[in-house]
């Protein structure tokens, strides 16, 4: 079983003493440091262009890691994480756009010409005034915490409300699907205030630093890596805690967990909120890296794609999600550069193959090379 981050194998006595570990188990124990080294060393070997691509892929590792938590450990299949990725992405975009409108000289010239202080796309759409819900994003002290808090709140309410009513797995998946569809539709439809299908782009500076400045790209990459590692550490902490065990119990026997005295809805709501925060951070970083917030990352298709990143890495492996995101992201780039038409075949087949034959993803493959001994091995989906 793809136990990427839970207890290593061997017999465990009550006081926690562990038996001897195999090499793969050592690999798993140090998965995060190994990844850290890889990610920090790689910039030395990549061109700036390729580094940017890697940074972009890493942004998708955030929602993927969240999906490992809610799906692998919690049994909740969310087909709408794009919603939270999009929230983070757009909130960052709003902040950056307003910053550029007020600070950038060419933007200022433009606004003087049009006689208004609004972001360019609003001016083009004849929007008269800044909508009230844009206003707070003038300030970093609002925008940055909002990226964390708003998705967490929305996610918790959404999940808790549904799970309190004991809405089942498939139903909830469809609800998440619908929500991400709604969000994409609304964003595209309300062009004047959201940038519509083109999204929000054209940022000049962030927190006073210009995007064009020397070494900025590298610094952004490092920041992304650090945040990703932090997210992985948090995820691993959750999984190893008692809460993680309770989640697994809820996943496998939710009814019984009630009779152990727990309210499953609270736990599911909590972990769903965590995943939402991860996705939101990823979205915000994406906007910083790529300079764009777009509805094409919000709807059904991108949301379900995020699931495949987690599935490829191994749905029980938080670190695996990073490898999954990078591998699939790289594949996407490869296909779009060389065989555009075959991308859908590839990813469609990937879904089918991973689900049918590799339910534990790459982490599971790794496991097959270990002797699992007393702890058993059943490849449980």
């Amino acid at each position: 079983m793809g136990n990427g981050v839970t207890t290593a194998g061997g017999s465990v006595a009550a006081n926690g003493a562990k038996a001897k570990r195999t090499p793969v188990e050592w690999l798993k124990l140090f998965a995060i440091p190994i990844l850290a080294v890889l990610l920090l060393v790689i910039p030395l070997f990549l061109s700036e262009f390729r580094l940017n691509l890697l940074a972009k892929y890493l942004c998708f590792a955030f929602p993927a890691a969240g999906i490992v938590l809610i799906w692998g450990y919690g049994g909740i299949l969310s087909l709408g994480q794009g919603m939270f990725f999009g929230l983070g992405s757009y909130m960052m975009a709003m902040y950056l756009k307003l910053e550029s409108t007020t600070s950038d000289s060419s933007a200022q010239a433009l606004s003087e010409f049009f006689g208004s202080n609004l972001p360019d796309f609003m001016v083009w759409n004849s929007v008269e005034a800044l909508p009230w819900w844009w206003e707070p994003f003038h300030h970093a002290w609002f925008a940055l915490p909002a990226i964390i808090i708003l998705p967490a709140l929305i996610a918790f309410v959404l999940a808790y409300a549904n799970f309190r009513k004991r809405v089942g797995g498939v139903y909830f998946s469809i609800i998440t699907l619908a929500f991400s569809a709604i969000m994409a539709i609304v964003i595209i439809g309300q062009q004047g205030v959201t940038g519509g299908i083109n999204g929000i782009t054209d940022f000049k500076t962030f927190f006073g630093v210009s995007f064009e400045a020397e070494g900025v790209r590298t610094k952004l990459y490092l920041a992304t890596v650090l945040l990703l590692l932090a997210v992985l550490v948090v995820g691993r902490f959750i999984v190893r805690s008692r809460l993680g065990k309770i989640l697994v119990a809820i996943r496998d026997r939710e009814d019984r967990v009630r009779f152990s005295g727990y309210d499953p809805a609270l736990f599911k709501g909590f972990i769903f909120a965590c995943a939402a925060v991860f996705a939101s951070i990823g979205g915000a970083l994406f906007t910083l890296q790529v300079g764009l917030a777009s509805p094409s990352l919000v709807g059904i298709v991108p949301s379900i794609e995020m699931v495949i990143y987690a599935a490829v890495g191994g749905r029980l492996s938080i670190v695996g999600a990073v490898y999954g995101a990078v591998l699939v992201g790289a594949a996407k780039t490869f296909f779009s550069e060389n065989f555009v038409e075959y991308w859908l075949y590839f990813i469609g087949a990937l879904f089918v193959i991973v689900v049918m034959f590799l339910p534990s993803g790459l982490a599971g493959l790794l496991d097959r090379f270990t002797r699992r001994g007393a702890n058993g091995n059943g490849a449980k989906p």
């Binding site: 006595a13 009550a14 496998d252 009630r258 009779f259 005295g261």
Partner: protein
């Protein structure tokens, strides 16, 4: 005469017109070990389902100590001090025996509490003691899914012991067990019933004789006899219903 820990009055539940339990009155004293027997479909499991909150009664009341259970939901009833063991062993297959017992510990059941929970020596001691009692001391690191059927039953009883409920509801604790395992389970139940009230559903009459203080016989959702094992076995109606069992 001890105080009543459980009072079930006029309890009825019907599923699409079929009355699984029909105006049942059922009283359990403190520290009593009551066994409920009856032919299949008599409503025994349904009775336990309603007490622990799995099924909602159509009418009637269930009183546990000074609380009314029929309006509460499962986890609240559990926290109030009622523990349930199911007919089919319900353990967390993907977690180890240790972890199964750990999460049954009745403290820190909130989200934050469980997130930052540290397994201290107190709980480790309790886990080891319980594991000893349920004959699984050497299996603490084994995944529950790998245990034998009988061992899973014991594990589930162990999980209940961790919870330390005042009222234990056991549904066919020896189903599928060998003769030796049944003896061991009888010992176990006798040990853990000290200072606890228990309601046990069983079919194995020899086993019932080993453990029961008092026996209630249900048939078609109603009680048809109650008393010691000898009294009940001699009761005409019971003989009728069991066809010479």
């Amino acid at each position: 005469m001890n105080e009543l820990i459980l009072s079930v009055e006029d309890l009825t539940v019907s599923f699409d017109g079929f009355k699984a339990v029909d105006n049942l009155n059922f009283y359990v004293e403190q520290d009593e070990l009551r066994v409920v027997i009856g032919p299949n479909g008599a409503g025994k499991t349904t009775l336990l389902d309603m007490i622990c909150g799995k099924t909602k009664p159509s009418s009637g009341t269930i009183r546990f100590k000074n609380r009314y259970l029929h309006n509460m939901i499962e986890y609240q009833i559990t926290r109030a001090g009622v523990g349930r063991k199911f007919q089919n062993p319900s353990v967390y297959e993907d977690l180890t025996v240790l972890e199964n017992l750990d999460i049954s510990y009745p403290k820190k059941r909130s989200v934050l509490g469980s997130l930052f929970f540290r397994r201290g020596s107190e709980i480790v001691g309790k886990i080891e003691a319980v594991a000893e009692q349920i004959y699984l001391r050497d299996q603490l690191g084994t995944k529950a899914g790998l245990l034998s059927h009988g061992q899973k039953q014991w594990l589930e009883i162990g999980m209940l012991l961790m919870q330390d409920p005042e009222l234990m509801l056991l549904d066919e604790p020896v189903a599928g067990m060998s003769a030796r395992e049944r003896e061991q389970t009888a010992d176990l139940l006798k040990r853990i019933s000290k200072g606890r009230s228990m309601v046990v559903i069983e079919h194995d009459m020899a086993f019932v004789k080993m453990i029961a203080h008092k026996v209630t016989v249900l048939h078609q959702g109603r009680m048809i006899a109650e008393g010691t094992m000898e009294q009940v076995q001699a009761d005409e109606r019971v003989i009728d219903v069991y066809l010479g069992h």
